[in-house]
């Protein structure tokens, strides 16, 4: 039996990396991209037509979070209930903190939805260096399809059921990474203190996400802690850069420029704080990050937060 084909939607670094990873698997790989590709990816068929991409039953979506809804809406015209749609988008949308899978649920007929997360980085994946990622879906067959398409001796894929939890973990790790960049750049935050803050921050993030229906265990796994630990080493991660620049006294606008890529967490942090407040969850670290972002605080509230309670 011919293995089903896999389609990647999004021609940015993350989409290209996923397409490359898929070429190591048994499936025929398609890439939908609106960009003029500088170089063709070997083994990948490029298309500009969503209808053509929809010939693939497994579709991996890797577009910026602010485009998620418009892309889903367009894609929806070409799908039916047999498609498996898995996104690798970090973010929660609007004041309701809608997850990306929920957006796909609202905009497309696809029901078998999933998300990718975890510490894997686009450049590692593209270069074929050993790495690990998480796929979450309430449907076991979604995780199986992703594993069949992407798993290799260079890419370990852990499957979990908690789709909502992984999406929240990915988004909140983005927020907390700003704090990591900030803490690392401050002379008065020692390595031990930073580690303590991170542990506390993961616990806090888990508590917030539990209020949204997530499973806290997801936060203590590859999709939460694992992802956040990568931020410790990734000096170029946009969120880390942004935090570092803010610690150095640079204004928010300039710090965002230095981060180069769009940091969605800047808008997300105040919304998460509002959500936590509404649900009666105490979140001193997220509050402190919000204060850093709006320029009303410095490192002190973060450390104070640690020693509260």
């Amino acid at each position: 039996m011919k293995p089903p084909s896999v389609g990647v939607l999004g021609g940015g670094p993350w989409g290209l990396a996923l397409a490359r990873a898929a070429t190591h698997g048994p499936c025929e790989t398609w890439l939908h991209s609106r960009r003029q590709q500088d170089a063709d990816v070997p083994g990948v068929r490029v298309t500009r037509e969503l209808a053509e991409l929809a010939q693939c039953r497994l579709i991996l979506v890797a577009v910026p979070s602010n485009l998620a809804r418009s892309v889903a809406s367009e894609l929806g015209h070409h799908l039916d209930g047999s498609h498996v749609v898995v996104h690798g988008i970090r973010g929660l949308s609007g004041p309701e903190l809608t997850t990306v899978s929920q957006i796909f649920r609202e905009e497309t007929p696809a029901r078998r939805l999933g998300a990718l997360g975890g510490p894997v980085q686009a450049d590692e994946l593209a270069a074929g260096r050993p790495s690990a990622m998480v796929v979450a879906s309430e449907f076991a067959e979604v995780a199986a399809a992703v594993r069949d398409a992407l798993q290799s001796d260079r890419l370990q894929i852990q499957a979990i059921r908690d789709l909502r939890g992984l999406e929240w973990a990915s988004a909140l790790v983005g927020c907390l990474s700003i704090g990591i960049g900030y803490g690392q750049a401050r002379g008065d935050v020692s390595a031990g203190l930073l580690a303590a803050l991170i542990s506390r921050a993961v616990d806090e993030a888990a508590t917030i996400a539990v209020a949204a229906g997530a499973d806290e265990n997801t936060f203590y796994g590859l999709g939460g802690y694992g992802d956040l630990l990568a931020s410790m080493a990734l000096v170029d991660r946009p969120e880390v850069v942004l935090g570092r620049e803010l610690a150095n006294g640079v204004g928010l606008a300039e710090a965002r420029e230095k981060a180069r890529l769009r940091v969605e967490a800047v808008e997300l942090v105040p919304r998460v704080v509002a959500f936590a407040k509404l649900n009666g969850v105490d979140c001193p670290i997220m509050n402190a990050i919000a204060a850093i972002l709006d320029g009303s605080g410095d490192a002190a509230p973060i450390t104070r937060a640690l020693f509260r309670g």
Binding site: M1, P4, R57, L58, S73, G76, H77, D80, G81, S82, V84, R105, E106, E107, T108, P109, R111, R112, E138, F139, A140, E141, A145, A206, T207, V210, A211, E216, K277, N279, G280, V281, D282, G309
Partner: protein
Amino acid sequence: MPRTAPIFHFNSERSMLVEQTIDRVCSHTRDPLHALNDAAYWEIRRLESSKRKRDQAELAEWRSLSRKLSRMTDAQRRERLRTLVATYAGDIAGNFDPRVYGLTTRILPSLVTGLLAPGSLPGKLRHPQDLLRLDAIADKVVVEGDTARLRKLAERGTLVFVPTHASNMDSIVFGFALELSGLPPATYGAGKNLFTNPILSFFMQNLGAYKVDRRLRFELYKDCLKSYSCVLLERGYHSLFFPGGTRARSGAVEAKLKLGLAGTGIESYVRSLRAGSERKVFFVPATINYLITLEAETLIADYLSEAGKARFIIEDDESSRLSRVVAFVRKLFTMRGAVVVRFGAPLDPFGNAVDDEGHSLDARGRVVDTSSFVRDVTGEVSVDADRDAQYTRELAQGIVSAYRKNTVVMATNIVAAACFEQLRQQAPGADLFTVLRIRDQKVPRDALARLVLERRDALRALEKTGDVILAEHVRDTSGGDILAQAMSAFEGYHTSPVIEAQPDGIVLRDPKLLLYYQNRLSRHGLAFDPEAPTRNPRNTNAGAA
């Protein structure tokens, strides 16, 4: 209703349905040793606590089987399995008597009305044709929802009605509602204990009910039930499940559903597809709303007692006491709109909306090929228990959301919510049981009417956004009138007064029943919710936030 629905031919098909169920259960029981051991374990456990002679004999038989099982050959075990499954399947399959059906749906309502409201009986006897008309209860049991669409869908597939469950009257009331709306009758699984209830068993036996013995907890029995239900759906028998599993003890609209039987919807659909003759299944959420509930007192007492939470089968409630049923029906039939059955929008077994033609729709309203939801990545129709369990969970979310939107708010609910709020204000921050101990609180009538009106207006705002439905008799009525309606509904049925009018105010006599009736609104944020989660149990500072 044209008598074409498969249930009218049930008796001629009964043995075939039973046989098919037996074949199916036996063929997919992979390990008969395990299945029999499991059954023996649960049955011995159940029967050991019984003193009845018949149970003792049964116990001895199970013990002997349990001892012999390991020495039996596989063929012997399969044979034993078949005998056992045949017993269960035969026990489950019920009756449907078209004559009784006709009697109960056409004549009985008028007759009951006549008997219970003697004033009207002579008139009825002078005009015997009236006895054959349903109009007598038409204004007592109100049916709402798009029944024209359901009638169309009944011709295009199998309907599975999934109403809320508050009372043992539900299946009878729902049966009337189906008949009133020109919908085909539905077969349903009723607790076997109800068949021993002298009042209900006559209806149960003959209206297409099959027997569910809730004492039997083992997989093999559940398998028999599910297979029987699946066979019925495949054969086009419109069915009725109460997905709440049991009557809602608290009075609230169900938020958690039992999914076992609902899952057979997908299975029967997939089987029909694989057999090359697609037969669609449509789930129809519905709410059954009562101005007063027959068993309110027992149910709320049961809900409140810790032990009660584990008590699954109540043998001795109001529904088994003739005088209570008569009092209840008499009360019911003196009030217009005392029962509202409201059908929600139908769903496919995957939780998608469907159009008039029975096509599945996505969230954007596009028509989607229903079979695509059960095709795997290679495009083949597949059986995948894990996938179908998830679809069924999502279907359950759709049903729960439909319950909330289609809850019909009655005067008793609004008044109880306003009264209970008054009680809670007497003991700010106190736990539920402290509030329930507050006796004979008095509230000035005008003040209470004002609170009732405020709450009704809040509900009206919710109704505008499609989140609830107001009963006709409360939508444009004054607070005082709603209060009066509730008082007259409570009066004369419940054994002690719920609230009582005195010259200087209204006395709140029965906090438990007030809790019960206000709970119907607890999912809408307009009444105290005893089941609301602690805001965040992991968070020690939550209380201060």
